[in-house]
């Protein structure tokens, strides 16, 4: 907690005061670092890029994941179990193993450096996770509920919209915050798959932590711009964040 406080206050301190030891608790607030980051530093653009990538990824992951989970709930066939198990194994495939060939493939199709790369990459990581999350929430839904709806003559998609979807709303909220948090914060894919025009916030930060000496004022401002929105969203959706994180562990 203290480190976060220090970073945010540093972003408002004049450069000389950042260096002072012990850290000054009373300081002359300044917004020059934010000016530098937003106006000269392109962080305004990165913010919009991050927003586009994170929102699109979240939309794809949650919609695709909810449909996919319902698909798996309906079927009893073996291929479905194999598919869902192998997706879980997919989680242990390191990003770097996918990134190198994906980068080359996207360049062959001349879509490297666009929003498409990070959106596809983030969605492919999120989708299996969202399905897994939805299924562990869906275990609580009695099978009879679905069956009785079928007897009443409801079409399968009606059952989804009228029964499953409302019951899964908490799971969907969890999926939204977790997908968004992943995509907003993800670095490695975005680092190589974006270009000057599509850099996301973490990439922007990565560009100056590479330097030998860091401009603490400017980087603190940039880091604050990046983390404060997602911390706020996390706070507002704290209940769903926690239930999503604990879903697989304690739900039966």
């Amino acid at each position: 907690m203290t480190p976060i406080y220090l970073l945010v206050t540093n972003s408002f301190k004049p450069t000389l005061e950042i260096k002072s030891i012990p850290p000054s608790f009373f300081f002359h607030p300044t917004i020059t670092h934010y000016k530098k980051a937003l106006i000269n530093g392109e962080f305004g653009n990165y913010f919009i890029n991050s927003l586009i990538v994170a929102l699109t990824t979240t939309l794809i992951s949650v919609v695709g994941g909810a449909f996919g989970a319902y698909g798996l709930m309906l079927t009893k066939s073996r291929w479905a179990r194999i598919a869902s198990n192998s997706m879980l194994i997919g989680k242990s495939v390191p990003a770097i193993t996918i990134l190198i060939p994906l980068y080359m493939i996207l360049n062959i199709f001349r879509v490297g450096g666009t929003y498409l790369g990070p959106i596809l990459a983030h969605s492919s990581v999120n989708l299996p996770f969202v399905i897994w999350l939805m299924l562990s929430f869906a275990k609580a839904i009695p099978k009879e509920l679905i069956e009785s709806a079928a007897i009443d003559g409801a079409r399968r998609m009606q059952t989804f919209w009228k029964i499953i979807f409302p019951l899964l709303l908490p799971a969907i909220a969890s999926a939204i915050i977790l997908s968004m948090q992943y995509s907003w914060n993800e670095l490695l894919f975005s680092l190589q798959l974006t270009s000057m025009d599509s850099y996301t916030l973490p990439v922007g930060i990565a560009k100056f932590v590479g330097a030998m000496s860091v401009d603490w004022g400017k980087s603190s401002a940039a880091a604050s711009i990046t983390m404060v929105p997602i911390i706020l969203v996390g706070f507002i959706m704290q209940r769903y964040l926690v239930s999503g994180l604990t879903a697989g562990a304690v739900k039966e």
């Binding site: 907690m1 798996l72 879980l88 193993t97 190198i100 932590v209 994180l245 304690v250």
Partner: protein
């Protein structure tokens, strides 16, 4: 008659067609973004594939890149670092997280809720920022950590932090703990709360002490919780990239070089895609070897539950 059969086989109301259509988008994305690149990547790893040069049949090296791995000192160092990082980071997460979760259970739920709002923060932010924050903490001239240490009469001599090869990896692990321990606290707390009270009462009646109760009752029931934590966050430690990228970039003297960082440097800084890909595929195997067991056990567990 014929039409009826045709209708039924195409029906969305019976059979698996609807299931297949619903899961198709996910399968397509996973196929395009993970499976095809994976096989393409494995084939690249069999070539001397340098970007900017035309690749011909004579660049086929078979398993040459993989043999090179084991003669490459930096790569072996990265392997050791990655394994040390993965094991100590994950073990530390579990131990510290469980300890704090058990202690937090002693305070009122309301106070616990308030505290949670505070300690939840690190897990919401990007590892690259975690790295940046700790780079400031470890800064020898103005870092917060050294100010704290100086109050105890300690300094850079006793704990050289990121500047010495002996403590650099530990410094990275500490930053990782700071971010991931809150996640473990949350999940373990949920696990502990879900244990029925009768178990504890029985133990209390038997006169078993608090520590023994924890080891004989709570811990065995937490095994499944730990499995989920390892699946969700443990596997990520093998692919560690962001936090090292912003803290040390693999230095000093490769003392924090991880497999992901080394593969990245080979691929995107030296443009040796073939060799980088061999490191990346090797990283995947290391991940399977270390974390394969929890995955298989978890898969069997959930299968057993469905059948029960």
């Amino acid at each position: 008659m014929n039409r009826e059969i045709k209708n039924r086989s195409l029906s969305l109301e019976k059979g698996d067609l609807l299931s297949f259509l619903l899961i198709l988008p996910t399968l397509l994305i996973v196929l395009i973004v993970m499976i095809i690149p994976l096989f393409y990547g494995i084939s690249i790893s069999l070539f001397r594939y340098d970007i900017g040069r035309t690749i011909t049949a004579s660049d086929f090296v078979g398993l040459g890149n993989y043999l090179r791995l084991f003669k490459d000192g930096t790569m072996l160092k990265s392997l050791t670092n990655t394994v040390i990082f993965a094991i100590s980071a994950t073990a530390g997460d579990l131990i510290i997280g469980t300890l704090i979760a058990v202690l937090l259970l002693k305070i009122t739920p309301k106070a616990r809720g308030l505290l949670r709002a505070l300690y939840i923060m690190p897990l919401l932010i990007s590892p690259i920022i975690v790295g940046l924050i700790w780079r400031y903490m470890y800064d020898p001239s103005s870092g917060f950590l050294y100010w704290i240490l100086s109050l105890f009469g300690l300094g850079i001599k006793q704990f050289p932090g990121m500047t010495a090869t002996s403590t650099a990896l530990l410094s990275v692990i500490i930053a990782h703990w700071w971010q991931v321990v809150p996640f473990v606290i949350i999940v373990v707390t949920a696990g502990l709360v879900s244990i029925p009270n009768e178990y504890y009462e029985a133990a209390y009646i038997d006169g078993s002490g608090e520590i023994r109760t924890f080891f004989s009752i709570s811990l065995p029931l937490l095994v499944k919780v730990y499995m989920v934590i390892i699946i969700i966050s443990g596997v990520d430690t093998i692919k560690v990239f962001d936090i090292i990228y912003s803290l040390t970039q693999g230095g000093p003297a490769n003392s924090t070089m991880s497999l992901s960082i080394y593969a990245y440097k080979n691929g995107f800084e030296m443009y040796q895609m073939g060799y980088a890909m061999a490191i990346a595929v090797f990283t995947m195997f290391v991940s399977f070897i270390i974390f394969g067991i929890p995955f298989i056990r978890f898969g069997m567990q959930s299968k057993g539950q469905e059948e029960a």
